[in-house]
Structures are given as structure tokens and as C-alpha cells.
């Protein structure tokens, strides 16, 4: 949940990258850490296994400067995607203000995307939040693999699978190449800040 200090005019909010295992959540954060050095205010911390699978979470703090008279800071997190870390996902999701759902464009991961999105909906519900109301962006990741002859789902198909009801902003991307990473993050931050502005009415 966003922390709003009226006296100091500071806002700190939380954005979580969610999605099935191996979809590119950590890769997104790694790219952001590497490419947005001016905005990054601390080290990226990853708590992961030997095989580089996220065990608990990745964490990256950023500062966005003054927006509408308020100093805005954002904490980016990823959740572990493996099915067995379901309780950790729920813990990390607590107090979330905005979400980037990273979907895997590989055809063989179609079902995992949908299971993960349902899992997100269920975890949000336990915190009294609706997936239809929380600021949410979808990134269709791994689009670069089309060039390697690997069967990918079309963006249209992924929209039908994941975004038919939600109708949230969505962006194709490739976290490993960096395309679509910044635009997805910016879109999520915009939606998140709009939502917080409605809640706290902090704009001068």
C-alpha cells in the first residue's frame, strides 16, 4: 500500500512484476537496473536459487523525482514464478499499488500464462483487491524468439487469452533485448500514480 507523507509531500508506492515461471520478470528488472541508472536509487537485490530461479523476490528501488509537487519513489518487486512458491507470491504481493503481468509468448507456455493470471486474481482477492480495479499492465514478452523460428503465439491470440475481459494496456516486448520494458514500466507507473492521485488527491 502506498505510503503518503502529506507533510513532506512524499509518496512511496509498490509495483510488482507477476507472471509464470521463466517468463522474464527478473530479466525485466535487470534491464531496468542497467538502463535507468539515473532513476535507480539503490542496488537491485535478488534472492534466488543456484539455477537463477527467483526464490523469494527481486527488489529494485527507484526515484521518479517530483510529480505534481510530490516526491515519488517506487519499489519494484518480482515474485517467484514456480508453482511451489505460491505462499511467497502472496506475501510479496501484499500492499501492491501497480502490477506488470509478464506473459510468456512461447506457444508451449500458453496454459501457464492463464494459470498465473488466475493465481494473481485469487491472491489480489485475498487482500480485498479486484484485478479489474488494480492498476495493471500486460507485457507480451519474448517476442524476439519469432526470429529464431520458435513457435510463438500471436499478440492477438494472447490478447484473447489474457486481456479479453481486463482490457488493460498491453505491450509486446523482449526483456532480454530491452524492447518494451521501459514503455511497460512507464505505463504501469502512470496508471498507478493516477490511481493514487484519486485516492490521496495529492496533486498541488
Amino acid at each position: 500500500m502506498a505510503i503518503f507523507n502529506l507533510k513532506k509531500r512524499e509518496i512511496e508506492c509498490k509495483v510488482v512484476y507477476y507472471g509464470p515461471g521463466r517468463c522474464g520478470k527478473t530479466t525485466n528488472l535487470e534491464y531496468i537496473f542497467k538502463s535507468y541508472k539515473k532513476q535507480v536509487t539503490g542496488e537491485m537485490v535478488s534472492i534466488n536459487t543456484e539455477g537463477d530461479r527467483t526464490l523469494f523476490f527481486d527488489f529494485l528501488p527507484m526515484g521518479l523525482g517530483k510529480i505534481k509537487g510530490c516526491d515519488v519513489r517506487v519499489q519494484l518487486y518480482t515474485v517467484p514464478g514456480q508453482v511451489k512458491y505460491s505462499s511467497t507470491r502472496k506475501l510479496v504481493l501484499r500492499g501492491v499499488d501497480g502490477i506488470v503481468f509478464v506473459a510468456d509468448s512461447l506457444e508451449v507456455r500458453r496454459e501457464k500464462n492463464m494459470i498465473s493470471l488466475k493465481d494473481l486474481q485469487s491472491n489480489l482477492k485475498e487482500y480485498g483487491k479486484s484485478i479489474f480495479k488494480v492498476p495493471l499492465i500486460i507485457q507480451y514478452n519474448k517476442r524476439d524468439l519469432a526470429d529464431e523460428g520458435i513457435p510463438l503465439m500471436s499478440v492477438e491470440q494472447m490478447e484473447r487469452d489474457l486481456n479479453r475481459q481486463l482490457k488493460v494496456p498491453s505491450f509486446p516486448g523482449s526483456a532480454v533485448k530491452g524492447t518494451g520494458v521501459g514503455v511497460a514500466l512507464k505505463a504501469c507507473l502512470m496508471e498507478t500514480l493516477k490511481s493514487l492521485q484519486r485516492e490521496f488527491k495529492w496533486a498541488k
Binding site: 521463466r22 534472492i47 530461479r53 523469494f56 511451489k84 506475501l91 508451449v108
Partner: protein, 305 residues
């Protein structure tokens, strides 16, 4: 597509999925390639190809096993644990509980044991130590700890009872035939009304039976704790009227609360059930004398459940 191209494509996909950590998908493609190769009678290097694929599948199976049987909550470095504390806890108790939630039980116990000295956190620290002991060792370990505390003087009778009523149902659920010793709770409340300017309890109206409530969680709608639920132990209960003692160090928590305020989101904890409801602030008084001088007595009337 030419069969050799199909096999090449399957092997290429398998290799990509393997590098992506998608071991199940990689194995499926290797198996599909292997099946195709088996069906071809005359294929150059058929045996070598099948042997190579078999080797890849074996490696994948080992990796899959390593991933699936790895510990779900290995003990992290101190740095990792400190990060968990700082990111997932606001006060010392929440930080310690966050460690436990991330499976860092040993460290959580150390932090919780330090909080036993603090009257404000003692009961919750005690309950969470029980949780940790059950998680890393056994219910018997938790029972041993309880008995140790019971024979000591760290906890008051009321606090000990709070821990007993938390632990006993767990012991029963585990099928352990053991009744935890119960402390003698004095008839008078600990917060005895001082001679003048003291606590006054409103006489409860005749109402339906209310369960024994051991603690309540109040979700604050304003102030520094806005949106957060804070749990308070019930010091005394008379029907639907609950008396909470709030330490002077926590006065900030209840500063915004006034007599007559309706609390819409209240969690009630009893030994046999947990339920949600509403409540009303019936009285808020600073204790002017006695051992609890400076603390606050907050009377909360259960409005609905």
C-alpha cells in the same frame, strides 16, 4: 516439412527451452524428436543421435529433480534476512514475523525472543515463537517451551492464558493427548480501578452470549496506521464489552479514536473461531495511577458479527 527438418526444428526448440529453464517442455521436444528418429529405418548416425538425445533427457531429468526437490525456504544470509525485515515489517514484531513467513525461523526466533522483554509485544512474540518451533521442530518442542514459560515469571497469568488458548487447539488438532497447564487468572482485572479518576466499565445490556474473545484486530481508517490492522489483546471481557490496555508507548495508535467512533473492520479472535464484525469505542481513559499508570484503557463494544 521434410522429416529431417522437422527433427532439426524439434531439437532446436528443445535446446531453446532448455536454455530458458523450461525443462518439461525441452524434454517433450527431445522425446518427440527421439520418437521420430526411431521410426526412420535408414538414418545416418541414428544410434549416435538417439544416444545424444537420451543423454540430454537424462541431464534434464537431473536438473528438474534438483529444482523440484530443492528446499522451499533455505536459510538466507544475514543480508537477505535484513532485507526481508526492512521491506516486509514496520515495527519490530512485524519484522520478526516477516522472517518467519519467509521461512527464516531460526533468525525469527532470535528476534522474537528479544521482544519477550517488551510488554507490548510479549504475547504476540510468544505465539509466534510457538509457530516457529512447530515449523522447524515439532509441537512437542512448542509444548516444552510453553511449560518452561509456565514455570517462570516472564508472562503474567493473563498473557500465559492467551498463549495457552492459542497453542492448545493446535496440540489437539495434531492428535497429541496433552492438556497444557492453565494459569490461575485472578478474578479482578490487572488494571484495577484506582481510587479516583479511574476506569469505569459500562454495565453491559442484556444480550446474546458472546464467545470468549482473546484479542481483536482493528483496521485503522485514518492516521499513521491507515489501512493497517493492529491486533490488541483483550484484557477483560464482560459480555460484549471488551477492555483493552494500550501501552503508553502506543498512544499514537489510538490518538485518532474517540468515544462513539464506529469501527467497521474488526477481526475478533477466540480460541475456537475467528470472525469479523463491527465495534464501537465505548470509553477511552488514561490510567492515572497504579502499575499501569500512563497506559490507556480502551473499552470496545462488540456491535455486530
Amino acid at each position: 516439412m521434410d522429416i529431417s527438418l522437422q527433427i532439426k526444428s524439434l531439437l532446436s526448440q528443445a535446446e531453446l527451452y532448455r536454455t530458458q529453464g523450461l525443462f518439461t517442455e525441452a524434454r517433450e521436444k527431445y522425446n518427440a524428436a527421439s520418437d521420430m528418429i526411431h521410426k526412420i529405418d535408414k538414418l545416418k548416425n541414428k544410434d549416435n543421435l538417439l544416444k545424444m538425445i537420451s543423454g540430454k533427457i537424462e541431464q534434464l531429468e537431473k536438473k528438474t529433480e534438483k529444482v523440484e526437490t530443492g528446499p522451499s525456504s533455505p536459510e538466507l544470509s544475514e543480508k537477505g534476512q535484513n532485507l526481508i525485515k526492512n521491506l516486509f515489517g514496520e515495527n519490530d514484531l512485524e519484522k520478526a514475523v516477516a522472517l518467519a513467513k519467509f521461512g527464516q525461523f531460526e533468525r525469527a526466533i532470535v528476534e522474537l525472543e528479544a521482544l519477550l522483554k517488551d510488554d507490548v509485544y510479549r504475547v504476540e512474540a510468544g505465539k509466534n515463537i510457538m509457530r516457529c518451533k512447530i515449523a522447524i521442530a515439532s509441537v512437542d518442542d512448542a509444548i516444552d517451551q510453553y511449560n518452561q514459560w509456565f514455570s517462570g515469571d516472564l508472562f503474567t497469568a493473563g498473557q500465559m492464558e492467551s498463549i495457552r488458548t492459542y497453542l492448545q487447539p493446535i496440540v489437539d488438532r495434531k492428535g497429541i493427548d496433552k492438556t497444557l497447564p492453565a494459569p490461575d487468572i485472578p478474578v479482578e482485572t490487572e488494571a484495577e480501578a484506582p481510587a479516583s479518576g479511574g476506569i469505569e466499565f459500562n454495565m453491559p445490556e442484556p444480550e446474546e452470549d458472546i464467545l470468549d474473545i482473546t484479542s481483536i484486530g482493528i483496521t485503522f481508517t485514518s492516521g499513521a496506521q491507515k489501512g493497517k490492522m493492529v491486533e490488541f489483546d483483550v484484557n477483560f471481557q464482560s459480555g460484549g464489552m471488551l477492555s483493552l490496555i494500550i501501552s503508553k508507548s502506543d498512544r499514537g495508535l489510538i490518538e485518532e479514536l474517540q468515544v462513539g467512533d464506529q469501527l467497521d473492520d474488526v477481526q475478533y479472535y477466540s480460541p475456537i473461531a475467528m470472525f469479523k464484525g463491527t465495534a464501537m469505542i465505548s470509553n477511552k481513559t488514561e490510567i492515572k495511577a497504579g502499575p499501569k499508570q500512563g497506559d490507556f484503557c480502551l473499552d470496545v463494544k462488540v456491535a455486530s458479527t
